[in-house]
Symmetry: C2
Subunit: 324 residues, 2 copies
Amino acid sequence: MVVAKKYVVVAPFVGDPKPNNFTIVEEELRTLEQNEFLAEALYISVDPYQRIKLGHTIPYDMIGGQIARVIESKNPEYPVSALVMGHFGWRTHTIVHEDNAKSCGQKPYLYRLPDFGDLPVSLGLGVCGRVGNTAYFGLTDICKPSPGETVVVSGAAGAVGSHVGQIAKILGCRVIGFAGTDDKCQWLLNEVGYDHAANYKTVNIAEYLKQQAPSGIDCYFDNVGGELSSIIISQMNEFGRVAVCGAISGYNETDPEKRKGTFLQPYIVGKQLKIEGFLVNRLTNVRGNQLKMSIDKNKLSTISTGEPTYWPTDTKKISFLPKV
Amino acid sequence: MVVAKKYVVVAPFVGDPKPNNFTIVEEELRTLEQNEFLAEALYISVDPYQRIKLGHTIPYDMIGGQIARVIESKNPEYPVSALVMGHFGWRTHTIVHEDNAKSCGQKPYLYRLPDFGDLPVSLGLGVCGRVGNTAYFGLTDICKPSPGETVVVSGAAGAVGSHVGQIAKILGCRVIGFAGTDDKCQWLLNEVGYDHAANYKTVNIAEYLKQQAPSGIDCYFDNVGGELSSIIISQMNEFGRVAVCGAISGYNETDPEKRKGTFLQPYIVGKQLKIEGFLVNRLTNVRGNQLKMSIDKNKLSTISTGEPTYWPTDTKKISFLPKV
């Protein structure tokens, strides 16, 4: 008899998530039926989008992707010891069936990982997972940077932002990142390979950009929103492109007045900017059929699986959007 | 000897334009040289974009389009009594040469009008001019509305907005307009053909939209910016499209605090919105070679001339963009 432990959200998030938003519940798992397998979590992903209540009713099992190992199986396609990426939530053990109805209430987002060799399998949640896809498709499909252009990234030291910067460098761009501590900026400069990085909490952002991007900004990959974004957008070049990946600066903000900042329209019209928001599943689903996961010890390729999305198709249920 | 009168901008605009921003200057015109003609203004256009200082140095001749009649000519392509549309500025008489260097310092934006029959030639500045092109190309190229979709227009009773609404109706959309007086709203409903129209100064905008657009908003043609736009954008459907044509609510605003409002990023990412600013010359120039001005008493077709733009290519000189 396997006992699973799982995080259950028992109180709605208000401001920063706190321990009392969650409780840990144990549940005894039944025996497997035909075509099911039992997955044991190795890595669980903690991502900003999980802060968003996606139409769930409290209490609900905490959502999230994980890398898991098959420890028992009645499905020959998922034999014991196989590694899988699945959207099983924050839980230790999961009975999984490819049929949505039988996968513990989670919609299927499931595939086997290839052999990662001696690279860590957690990359299946990182550059080879949602994070890498978000960075790659958001930058290439929406920002469409050309070699020599200047790309600015907010939330640059985050999971997505740190990949955006690397991909932009590979594409021949000059890359400037903003992060929230000096240590993060040093990491961006010394290890990730950003050309410039600044702590948005302590630098004069407008002046800094004038110095580091004297020819203006062509692309902006926005993970955070807020006034930082207004300042960056105010210095964009004609026909600049903005990919809006997230708006985390506001997710925990409960004061409506702090959800306000400089209007963007004068810059949007004056510089003929294009600003587009995206959820990664849209972009990966479009390309899914053409792409296969591939991995090489010398060159990690970002991938798409073509698997169906777990994201609710009815985004009216996304309750994080504040009323205006 | 012809004496022209012209408006000269002698003081930079601060807040609302005032009479003392201008002076009227008389100038004696020289005799025509070969290939020149003398144009006498019939209609002069007063447009929001003229509020923007386009890199000119004070003092400068006031910019603007006009419909003019040729009253003297040494150019057989522009014979006496021909009607032209030209970007001659706010002046009574103009010596015009198709060569930029000789057209009184104005870059060429010049074409002969076709025979309007008994329709007013001022339409050459309206539906058949910049206004109509802005409405038509902004709506169809950027908003790309489908029949049955809901289109919202701000500045709906303005020159551009009133055309956007009519074009959207022709395309089979449900059209909602916002204007600044009850009289304008009555005009939109009774004459222009909007399905719904409201005074944004007196209505509860969020509640009004919930009632009149219960299925959400698919397209938004934004002429004004400001908090009205934030509220409209907060009620857009997934994959909504926003054409940003102007931001007039801020052009005369001198208080930086009043240039602030609700951040758009949470809606942009949550609903995967696409927001694009445009200056009409970009769109008409692209299509210019394929389109010809055509006019029919029963059906006014919007047109493009393919003429080169007078808009400065270096928009860094656009000084209306406030510093953040």
